[in-house]
Amino acid sequence: MTSQANLIPVNSGLPEFENRDKQETKYTTCYMCACRCGIKVTVEDNKVRFIQGNPNHPVNKGVLCAKGNSGIMKQYSPAKLSSPLLRKPGTERGAGEFEEISWEQALDMLEKRLSHIRATDPKKLAYFTGRDQMQALTGMWASQFGTINWAAHGGFCSVNMAAGGLYTMGHAFWEFGDPDWENTKYFLMWGVAEDHASNPIKLGLKRLKERGAKFVSVNPVRTGYQAIADEWVAIRPGTDGILALSMVHVLLKNQLVDEEFLIRYTNSAQLVVNTPGQKGDGLFYRAGGETPQVWDQVTEAYADANRPDVSPALFGEYTAPDGTPLRTAMSIMLEKYMDDEYSPEVAAKECGVAAEDIERIALEMAHVAFKETITVDVEWTDWAGRKQDKFIGRPVSMHAMRGISAHSNGFQTCRAIHMLQVLLGTIDCPGGHLAKPPFPKHIPPGIKPAKEMAPNTPLKSPPLGFPTCPEDLAIDADGKPLRIDKAYSWDAPISCHGLMHMVISNAVKGDPYKIDTLMLFMANMAWNSSMNTEQTLEMLCAKEDDGEYKIPFIVCSDAFNSEMVAYSDLVLPDTTYLERYDTISMLDRPISEPHAACDSVRIPVIKPDRNVVSWQEVMVEMAGRLGFPAFTTGEGERKYDDYKDFIVNFEKEPGIGFLAGYRGENGDKSLRGEPNPRQWEAYEENEGFFEFELGMNQRYMRHANRDYLELAKEAGWIGNTDQIVIELYSEKLQTFRLAGQGLYDGPMPTEEHHKERLVKYFDPLPIYYMPLEEQRIDRDEYPYHAVNQRPMFMYHSWDSQNAWLRQIMNQNYLYMNRIAAERDGIKDMSWVWVESHNGKIRAQVKLMEGTNEQTVWTWNAIGKRGGAWGLSEDANESTDGFLMNHLISELLPQKGDETDRVTNSDPITGQAAWYDLRVKITPAAEGETGSWPQFGPLKPQPNAKPSPDMLSYTSHKNVNILRSLSDILTRGEK
């Protein structure tokens, strides 16, 4: 039902409605998490009346989460910074003593410092950003500056998921793909905390439930989404890989795989050299040419694998003319996964899921995929130009995120899940897992990480890319890391998002070298964005013998007085999200939906009342001042007035810019077209977003759909229209494994532990292995897994500390399974010590039913430092809230071996392994209450308005109901 207004006459007891004449609605994009929902903001007198979801927006379709609905409190936070700040000379870092300076002073100071670094040794600038949504700009900026030391927070967020997908099928979970919510009949969700993504998943789950589809959730903790699952699989953390591969085992035992899909769209039939212990083992057989070969059953001969007119053998062992033994990739898979090592009985012991359940879920999915097949009757053309009369859908879909990602076996686990999807033929088909433009891409995307640097010279390629072989690593001739975070080194060869979590630790140790300036944006590294926070704080303040800080200069940009501000030397105050221009660009991670390419913008809806400048504006200004080639003319003149001007006129290649919509002189071209001087206005008129719907024939099987591939090439999303062949078998990983075996013609590691890691973990097929921390600690001493998640109302948000949301939660508890706690004598609401190999904390326990018995968990980043974020010194966040981060080391558990120096991360991707944590729990002594450790309060920013004791926000004087006395007296009793 929509409106009541026309149904009954307005009668007594209705309010005199508020005056809307002075109200205007503006459209922009939310910025409190990675969903990037469209919002419609009602503003009056430069004050926010109401923020609501934009019903026309492709992402959130009108809905909005608890954060989005609390934007007002973010906008009016007393912790907003109001001027550039310089650490007072003579005061210590961390003391929070600042003086306000002008923007001119701040920018001059930064320019001087950066221009010296750029002219001498560009790598001395380490530039890392948090949960920002402008990596296309910041990455380009770093590249133009000439430093390879740039990354964002993907290294501790989701690189395992991104890389797992991009190295397997060219798209991925979450940002690069979605379940087909409209058609899927069986949905399996893996390790999704209350996050990634927010509103789209919620909308999707509702659609599933409406249609009666089955929703199974694999997760050690049952909150949020798990609560509404039809089946909750309470897995032991870090063991999802064996569960997935055991389901693969069940499917293979029952011969329940989509053989047509495997032959047409994957490399399963390609022939692999089978010469263990020799060079070339495990690589594809190419018959002397470039192209992998298959055995064509019709001609009974070897043939190029990419030819359309062959009927490859999916199984079998062959011998090449030169005598080389070969077998198909599928044969290797069969041999590997049909082994009893992967049987449900064996897997059950490791992951804690009953063998019957493993088998049942696998067979349920097979039933839906193969017996409840759906079709979409649309004619389409495949990659080889053959007309197909319909899309065949196998309506099983999956989604996976943090619980897979943040383990040191996450990359292979993610690949195992994708393998399950691929064997069932559910990739980019109706009802399956759909890619979101600009994905899928060829495997992996064709960008290689930069490694060469020279003064005053831009990099030849972006700092981050996708290595395909050891030659692509960012290491020097001795095999030592070139990057400050040791990304693309033998420690983590495929670390496509960098290792932000290692930067401070490595820079302070001078390993691999010292830096001059650390520049941070939107990253709270002095608190909840660091592993090992307590020691990170010490590192940020560590000094050389001469009294100089080990990290000489720290610059941060933040809109609020976060914990990081106090540990910075120069603070550049950012705008809030309602005060800025921004792009959520097709060059970065746009807001596309499976059926449409979409990007969006932020447009200011509130005029700032402070001396603040958005970080992207600072970026463009600094690029001009430093004379970056892409930002200046040949004569050294600045090309762009400001950020808006840059966005409109910058072209990455002809016709391709940051925004894909409303291009061309008249704004009538989409995806590619000349700059449109009125592009911002066009976005504003279109409610802040651009949506390009794909034709019905371009919506599925896009890895092999000619009409789609041609569009993608035209749009600059992919470099050619070749079929994107799904790589169940990863030859790229095998090259690294060969390097570890000493069998590679190219760079090879010299240290034993590196060799071991490459051999053990770089399996070309998905494997399960015990997470690294668990391998190096005494599992009996630390009997519990400890994981954390952010609650939905603060999900993925670095600054959702606000007056409304903190009322929902200002203290986190350590949640334990009731039965386990009763066994251990731990009482509900009691205080306990939680100890890991790295340290200990004190926390308050809450018992619950919905937690795996071997797992404890908490809500992350609820704990805050007193004084930060405008909080009082005795705020509950500080006295009772806690961070689990103190327990998590950025290095592997110390055992006195050469691995001690190695990052606590996935050995393949460098993804921070903060879910690997194991702890022991002991009751605190009588009277030991309150969280520990404590760090003392931080100072408010200079000239801060004191936080109020009472808050009564309204955007206008409330128009209350005014009833007559007679109505009051005469209104009848029911």
Partner: protein, 229 residues
């Protein structure tokens, strides 16, 4: 007309979106402001019209987590109205919405005592009672676009677990949902006849298992089919 909400416990994920949407709409709305005491200090405590509680039903390992958003039920027999001495609290005969006139309430708390659902909270600054208005200042305001004339919580709910409508109309979506999903009232034994109704979690869908034909014990069991690329 009996206006009210249906809340679907089968799909509510406990995100608190409805609670903050309510807070932001209503703090500037007819019932507003909704004040917050010690908003940045110890034990912050503000007036909210919508709270989300989470329960675990049954014991491990068979337990189930249920999120239960609660706001005013706009009871047919609204004792909160009966007990109000000033006439500030009243129930609209036109549509059953229970409201509190902010300029007439004396803050005696008696209505909150009479309410079994915890739907009324005293404003720490204003000293008047606050409660859900079903966004009476949205649903009847003709200056708002027609499809936005619904309560803020309903508009924002990301799992569409909240449905607004007329329980007197047998053809309304809410009435249909209550019929089809065996909607339940909370604390029915107290006899307040709450209008808001909760839809219990559904039975799990039954999915068949693929019936195995023959198990393959070795790689040799697989035979190549001729399938062209």
């Amino acid at each position: 007309m009996r206006l009210g909400l249906v809340v679907d416990l089968d799909t509510c994920v406990g995100c608190h979106g409805c609670a903050t949407a309510c807070k932001q709409w209503n703090t500037s709305g007819t019932i507003g402001p909704l004040s917050d005491k010690d908003p940045y200090g110890r034990n912050p405590n503000g007036a909210w019209l919508n709270r989300i509680r989470t329960y675990e039903v049954d014991d491990s390992p068979n337990s189930k987590t249920v999120h239960m958003p609660m706001s005013c039920m706009h009871c047919d027999d609204a004792a909160c109205v009966t007990v109000c001495p000033t006439g500030a609290s009243y129930k609209r005969s036109e549509d059953g919405i229970v409201l509190v006139d902010q300029d007439k309430c004396m803050g005696c708390n008696l209505c909150s005592w009479a309410c079994p659902y915890g739907a009324r909270e005293l404003d720490p600054q204003e000293g008047t009672m606050k409660k859900c208005t079903l966004c009476v200042d949205r649903i009847y305001d003709e200056k708002l676009p027609e499809d936005e004339r619904k309560p803020a919580c309903v508009m924002t709910c990301p799992t569409k677990s909240r449905v607004f409508g007329d329980f007197d109309d047998p053809n309304s979506e809410v009435s249909k949902l209550v019929r089809e999903r065996a909607g339940k009232q909370l604390l029915p034994e107290l006899g307040y006849n709450p209008v808001n109704t909760y839809l219990p979690p559904r039975n799990k869908p039954v999915v068949e298992q693929y019936q195995p034909v023959s198990l393959k014990d070795t790689v040799k069991g697989w035979v190549n089919k001729v399938i062209s690329r």
